[in-house]
């Protein structure tokens, strides 16, 4: 399983969590197996503009990501991830990438639902 995490430079488990998946510096990709971290690498983000928020979705899908941990996201990219078969989990309060990944592997993160999206009526999240 490949887990994608929006990150600040330079990425990796000690990097700070990226607040918005589409505008993060880069992604940390964590390969996990049986609840354990096997490999950690980084993936550059792709630039996108107003209305182009599906570019990062396609980018992560093309790079084999199965699960995304995110703090902020709009409804359209969330639907895009779901339609691509990528599960999204809510990890807004994680200080670092490593904390978020370990929380996910321990089963402590909730699925990212539409009421958590920007403009979805949930708590305010950076859009």
């Amino acid at each position: 399983m490949i887990i994608g995490i929006p990150s600040t430079q330079p990425g990796g488990l000690d990097a700070r969590f990226g607040a918005h998946f589409g505008h993060c510096d880069l992604y940390t990709l964590v390969e996990a197996e049986n609840g354990e971290i096997k490999e950690v690498r980084t993936l550059p983000n792709v630039p996108h503009q107003q209305g182009g928020c599906l570019a990062p979705v396609q980018h992560l899908a093309d790079n084999g990501v199965d699960v995304l941990l995110a703090g902020g996201m709009g409804m359209r990219p969330l639907m895009g991830f779901n339609q691509k078969g990528i599960d999204v989990y809510f990890a807004a309060n994680a200080p670092t990438v490593g904390v978020a990944v370990r929380a996910f592997l321990a089963g402590n993160l909730q699925k990212f639902t539409q009421d958590l999206t920007c403009g979805g009526g949930g708590q305010p999240i950076a859009g």
């Binding site: 503009q49 107003q50 209305g51 182009g52 928020c53 599906l54 570019a55 979705v57 396609q58 996201m73 709009g74 409804m75 359209r76 990219p77 639907m79 895009g80 779901n82 339609q83 999206t117 920007c118 403009g119 979805g120 859009g127």
Partner: protein, 160 residues
Amino acid sequence: MAGPYFQVTAKTNAETVWKSVVLQAVFGYTTSYFTMKKNIVLFTPSLNPASGFITTLSDDEDVRVTTVATAEEMLRLVREESPALVVLEEGADARKAFDLVIDILSINAMVNTIMITAMDPESWHEKSEGLGMLEPLPVPPSATDARKLLATLGRLGVFT
């Protein structure tokens, strides 16, 4: 059509040429269907089909414009043809336009959407937040707006 024939445009890509070669070999002709035109669906009942906005879109060699009269027809096309863009006029249907956008995204989030609206920028931003829509078009949109829209779609990689 007899003889070797390729429909070559400035934006011809490898896939188009490949399909043209296959068609040429198998059937001896090529068709406009395989020129990979991108479908733009217009759900804009109040726009004149002869307006500069619509004709500018229609005249683009990379675009096929399909006009629909109902929301149901629009959603059917989204489901069956995965258009590059849906242009939606606010007030075109009894349902709220943003609800229709959510319906579109629920079917296929890859489909781009844009709304023709007189809404003030602040209200539009608030209501469209998270829906990933293109910047709205004014009422009525002009030929210049169509050219800007095509340029935006180009930047988004729609025509590549």
